[in-house]
Symmetry: C2
Subunit: 459 residues, 2 copies
């Protein structure tokens, strides 16, 4: 793929340079994706990607499922479908959501999408005019930031602590934005086993966040790809279960079955669902009937709940391996979260260590991660990183964390040697805070009430 | 699915009514799609949909292909892929395009998309600001209009005759729009076996259109889903073959393999391809590896060229059945096109007959079609319709055309009875020309030079 490299913004080799839409300038390469080519080299332990462990799937069962599908229903599976998605799959999706307390979902209000990523894209398309505000946790899912940027949204982060999004910070942000005259359209949240922080919003805060958003007229977008991967075995009740009218729920089979199918969905209030269907039609005409029916048939004929249980146990073992290795190897001053499900741990480094600057040395030491800055729209997160435990087996995780700790210790030692020469407050001169539309409440609010990224400590 | 029915634009039951983006008002239900529910009833001969005849595919071969894929490469096929698409499939796509004279395509410049519809969506996203002009043939592919509307483009139709887009009309339209100060970004064209008119742009006009667009700085979007389905057996040379820098080519396996896979692509100049990849990532993260590799493996292991040959012969027989039936049954004053490939015939009714008003009577007589107005952004096409011969077998086509001719004769007879009461110029009071941004050059240009829709006659 050809990318542009010129820092001055000109590109004389591109004949169409002057023709692009304004929104195209917001379409930027994902820091996570750029890492994948390097991190996939076999000698490197990648704690970077969020790829599920599909090798744990029973491939023979998947193979016979898709072959039977073509033989018995090929005329339907290979044909165009509707923009809303297959009705039988939508009914089955309602059963899946019932496992998280959503017992009133109707298939008419479900829209099947190309992964939940497309649901987020369509939702943004339907709701967001240029300059409208989308609130997100800080840090947040990296490609959500890209999607919002593609629609010229202004992304404003709201602080989290170990209990998730901080309601007081949400109130303060809304008050400040209202004073500015900003139009706040959406609160995008991953409340359960968050990507990237591994944090889960507590039950009492869920109620509080819903109430704050209801009063402010802000639609809550609950992105929940990891909800069924709870390590306690107890599912977390979805926010949507308690506010059918105020929440659009995004779900996915990417983490509980296979991302290669690209089957996700949105559950939305009826009028919103109707608009999502129209948006989907103009975007892709219709989703693949083949992958939709393959998922539907797999759920109907295979022991899927047992598969999820196996996934849970596998991911829990890997989380445990990572937590143990972190406790055994990390130098003083490093802190990390303790996820109860999902794929990710958020590691905060000692003050002044720059995770992005350290990355080339980590790669050289054969371990990869995603620097924290990728998960903010405003350049925050320099001294943090996301560690994924979903893909490598436990022994590789232990190796990777050990290598990472060595690199970090060298970095700290280097820093102590040159400390007198360095600036004492790296936050004050953040060179990546280049997006004038993005706002970091922590950067502009001198009060200490709102927790900082470094508050995501092992607890 | 819940749709809004209120003519006055209010919707008190939708709590989010005030929150939608401006672009959401351009997302409208497709007239074609709305018909499908009715037209799929078994007693009705549907000449409406453009569904390929997937029952002609060797289902056993497809079944074993996908089963082998999962067994042998499941870890890749079920995992996330890249936003650009699988490299092996992109290489194979280059081979496919070489059949149409595109011999310089590089896989790096190919982006695999969810059908070519998504390629069109991404391209519009990258190029079109609200109010920018997209030129299209009149009539044009219905869901392209919806895609452009979703990005608040102004769709301006350029006339066609039996040789395709009229270069003089294109020049005149560009001159007029330049005088208005309009920004013309794209010419969207289906130059080969056009949907809906069945017309093919002649070779000399292709060169002329490319030259006009090059001078005007307008990017040509060549949408070519039907190119390989030529009834003469001779492939039509793609416009892209003669202008690698000025054309984005959109291709698809939906008509030559199976739409249920949703595998299409764009071939674009390198800098444009890079932007399409970024747009794709924010839209869907990555396409289904499963369907991409299924298509790749099918092409690699099955006699696909023979399959295309079988499709060509089948569709040619169906076209012949329709042309013969039209010649035998249609009343005087009706004219139609004679496609050399693809799926569609454009039927122009005698002056004053309204195809949309006639549709309920046709449905009652057990035949369905798509009224011409669906293929225009400006309300043109009232006295025309699209007839598809791709899906029903020949004997059904003959039955359908016979029923249609009976309905049309009754309509003409009714019209003659009440002629003194009717307006003499239905174009002057077109109730569907409600989009103030849309412009019909024929409606505002009093000169007779530009051919009209009714010029698509049997030739």
């Amino acid at each position: 793929m050809v990318r542009e490299h010129r820092a001055d913004g000109t590109e004389p080799t591109d004949r169409w340079w002057g023709s692009y839409a304004a929104r195209a300038s917001g379409m930027i390469a994902s820091e996570v994706r750029a890492l994948f080519a390097v991190a996939s080299r076999p000698e490197i332990v990648s704690l970077a990607g969020g790829m599920p462990a599909v090798d744990a799937l029973p491939l023979d069962a998947v193979a016979s499922t898709v072959a039977d599908l073509v033989t018995s229903r090929g005329r339907v599976a290979l044909q165009y479908g509707s923009a809303q998605g297959d009705p039988e799959l939508r009914a089955r999706i309602c059963d899946v959501m019932a496992m998280e307390g959503i017992t009133d979902a109707h298939p008419d209000n479900v829209v099947v999408t190309v992964g939940s990523q497309q649901a987020l894209d369509l939702l943004t398309r339907v709701f967001v005019d240029p300059g409208d505000v989308v609130l997100t946790e800080g840090p947040t899912y990296v490609t959500a930031i890209n999607t919002f940027a593609a629609y010229q949204a202004r992304v404003v982060h709201v602080s989290m602590d170990g209990d998730g999004l901080v309601p007081d910070a949400l109130r303060e942000t809304l008050t400040r934005l209202a004073a500015e005259g900003a139009r706040v359209k959406l609160l995008y949240t991953v409340p359960t086993f968050q990507n990237p922080a591994g944090i889960t919003l507590t039950a009492s805060r869920r109620a509080e966040v819903l109430e704050i958003c209801r009063r402010a007229g802000v639609l809550v977008v609950e992105d929940n790809p990891y909800g069924l991967l709870s390590f306690t075995g107890e599912p977390v009740r979805a926010m949507r279960a308690d506010d059918p009218d105020g929440v659009v729920y995004l779900g996915s089979f990417s983490k509980t079955l296979a991302p290669g199918m690209r089957v996700g969905w949105a559950l939305a209030p009826a009028p919103v669902a109707a608009r999502l269907v129209l948006a989907a039609e103009s975007a892709i005409l219709s989703h693949s009937m083949f992958t939709q029916l393959a998922v539907e048939r797999y759920l109907a004929t295979q022991p899927w709940p047992e598969q999820i249980k196996a996934f849970r146990e596998m991911y829990r073992d890997r989380r445990d391996a990572m937590l143990t290795a972190l406790a055994e190897t990390m130098p003083a001053g490093a802190t990390w979260t303790r996820p109860e499900g999902g794929f990710f741990i958020w590691l905060t480094l000692p003050d002044g260590v720059d995770a992005k600057a350290m990355l080339p040395r980590a790669i050289a030491a054969r371990v990869a991660y995603v620097p924290g800055t990728g998960f903010y729209a405003d350049g925050s997160g320099r001294n943090a990183m996301r560690l994924s435990y979903c893909y490598p087996p436990p022994e590789r995780i232990r190796d990777g964390v050990r290598r990472l700790a060595d690199v970090l210790r060298a970095e700290i030692s280097l820093r102590q040697t040159f400390a007198p020469l360095a600036t004492t407050n790296p936050r004050a001169t953040n060179p990546r805070a280049t997006n004038p539309r993005a706002t970091n409440p922590r950067a502009t609010d001198p009060r200490p009430a709102a927790p900082r990224t470094s508050d995501f400590r092992d607890q």
